[in-house]
Amino acid sequence: MDLSIRGLTVRFGAVAALSGVDLEVPAGGRRALIGPNGAGKTTLFDVIAGEQRPAAGTVALGGRDATALPPWQRARLGLGRTFQRSTLFAQLTVAENLALAVRARCRAGWRFWPVRDRELEREVADRLETAHLSGAARRRAGSLGHGEQRRLEIELALAAGPTALLLDEPMAGLSGAERTSAVERLRALPREVTLVIVEHDLDAVFALAERISVLDHGVKIADGTPAEVRADPRVQEVYLGTA
């Protein structure tokens, strides 16, 4: 699914968190969104996902104007997201966490009688294995270690079957080996899935992204291939230069 964001402006009181941001990601694109802290990256995700209303601008998902749609309807159009801080169902088991996401995809929430669903159980088992969480299936999500929570965070979003996925700092707090395996997981995604990734780990960014957009103080200052962005003097000044 392609994303088309035009002229997005968000204000918190007198502060403009985003001003006139455009972002075009074609279907199957691999885009990274970088910029210093407070540049407006998460705010942009919140607007695309429908959790934050923009003061101006439009959001189109798969060619459909989604600016006025609530988050759940955008999810049904095929939009998925992960959160900067793991946003799991802490009291439920890891397997039940994933089962909820699978049911979201199958629109199976309105069933009022308990029936054993072997197809769902099989898919949950497969996904647990993919995420290296099989051993933790019956543990509560809240009791997982940080690395396990980050893996579940991503797998939860994937289980809902998105065709466009917003990843908010998926590498945050991960060790070197965990980063490598997270990058592998994302590189293994089918080409149909559009990826937009906010990430401070530039190794991961360059390993995943085909194009990079750079935000600073709510303004998009650069947009291009990794080589172009690296060569951009403004980007070097505000971002890479200080790193």
Binding site: A49, E51, P70, P71, W72, Q73, A75, R76, G80, R81, F83, T87, L88, F89, A90, Q91, L92, E96, A99, L100, A101, R103, A104, R105, A108, G109, W110, R111, F112, W113, P114, V115, L156, A157, A160
Partner: protein, 312 residues
């Protein structure tokens, strides 16, 4: 033996003990048992909201009272069929729960609690002041009990304590089994997900408001069913049933018994009724003692009586 099987055996033993109550217990205790069962149904309906869906309603008496009035009004119009009289309470309360839920559920937490309380008090005011329908503070009196088809031939009617107690037990068991199934169904799991993390559920594509409204209406309907039984049991429906203290008492029963378990609210309902009975004969201000008990449970046993059993 697994925990699940132990629980089932314990419940069956409890059921047999309760079902045989009319054979050996004094008449007074059959009456108390009837009241406790009705209160238990009411408490289970609140637990569906509080424990499973995470909705702390402080106005649940509204649906109990509306159910009682609906049943009373129909029974006073010479309808004596059991099933319609039971269902009218559930349907009337469900109908009232739709607008109350649609407005209250826009808020969460303490604001939701205050809104449900306010709506329940509005209905209480209506019950007091809409005298042409409700007969004001006197309430509906002389509500007859329904006839049971075929029971006459067997030599009993629902006007006797034993058979009416068994009716209440049957309805309570039915509600227990229905809620047990509902909470384990995909719908029930969805509610748990919303309770745990509504933001994530929306991001996954669940229209969370509709789910919360649906469970609010189901909870209201079951409370209305309990209200129907209360009107039949007492023979009257008065504004007291809708008053906020009733909402408070059922909340105490759920918390003391242990929410998120269905067995907990049943135990809590029995405990609260027996405590009320026992304490009110010795102490004038029995609510004070019950309040202290409530605080003690919240502080030291947040999982309620059921948590105590599980820990043992």
């Amino acid at each position: 033996m697994t925990v699940g099987r132990g629980r089932t055996l314990l419940l069956l033993a409890l059921l047999v003990a309760l079902a045989s109550l009319p054979l050996w217990a004094p008449r007074f205790w059959i009456y108390i048992g009837t009241q406790a069962l009705i209160f238990a149904i009411f408490a289970m309906s609140l637990d569906l909201l509080l424990g499973y869906a995470g909705l702390a309603s402080f106005g649940h008496a509204a649906f109990y009272g509306v159910g009682a009035y609906a049943c009373g009004l129909l029974a006073l119009r010479h309808v004596d069929a059991l099933i319609p009289l039971l269902l009218i309470g559930a349907l009337a309360s469900a109908a009232v729960a739709v607008p109350i839920g649609a407005l209250s559920l826009r808020a969460t937490g303490i604001y939701f609690l205050m809104l449900t309380l306010a709506f329940a008090q509005i209905l209480w005011g209506l019950a007091v002041n809409w005298t042409s329908l409700t007969r004001g503070t006197d309430g509906l009196i002389g509500v007859p009990r329904p006839a049971l088809p075929g029971a006459g031939a067997l030599g009993f009617t629902l006007n006797e304590r034993g058979p009416f107690f068994i009716l209440c037990l049957a309805v309570a068991v039915l509600v227990f089994l229905l809620l047990e199934a509902l909470t384990r169904s995909p719908f029930g799991r969805t509610l748990e997900g919303i309770r745990e993390n509504e933001r994530r559920m929306r991001a996954l594509g669940f229209p969370t408001f509709r789910y919360r409204l649906a469970v609010f209406v189901v909870g209201g309907a079951i409370a209305g069913l309990a209200g129907s039984l209360a009107a039949m049991s007492n023979g009257f429906a008065t504004p007291d049933l809708l008053y906020w203290t009733v909402s408070g008492l059922v909340l105490v029963a759920v918390v003391v018994g242990g929410s998120r378990s269905l067995v907990g609210p049943v135990l809590g309902a029995f405990l609260v009724l027996i405590a009320q009975l026992g304490l009110s004969t010795f102490v004038d201000r029995w609510e004070l003692v019950l309040g202290a008990l409530f605080i003690a449970f919240v502080l030291f046993l947040p999982r309620g009586l059921v948590g105590l059993v599980r820990r043992a």
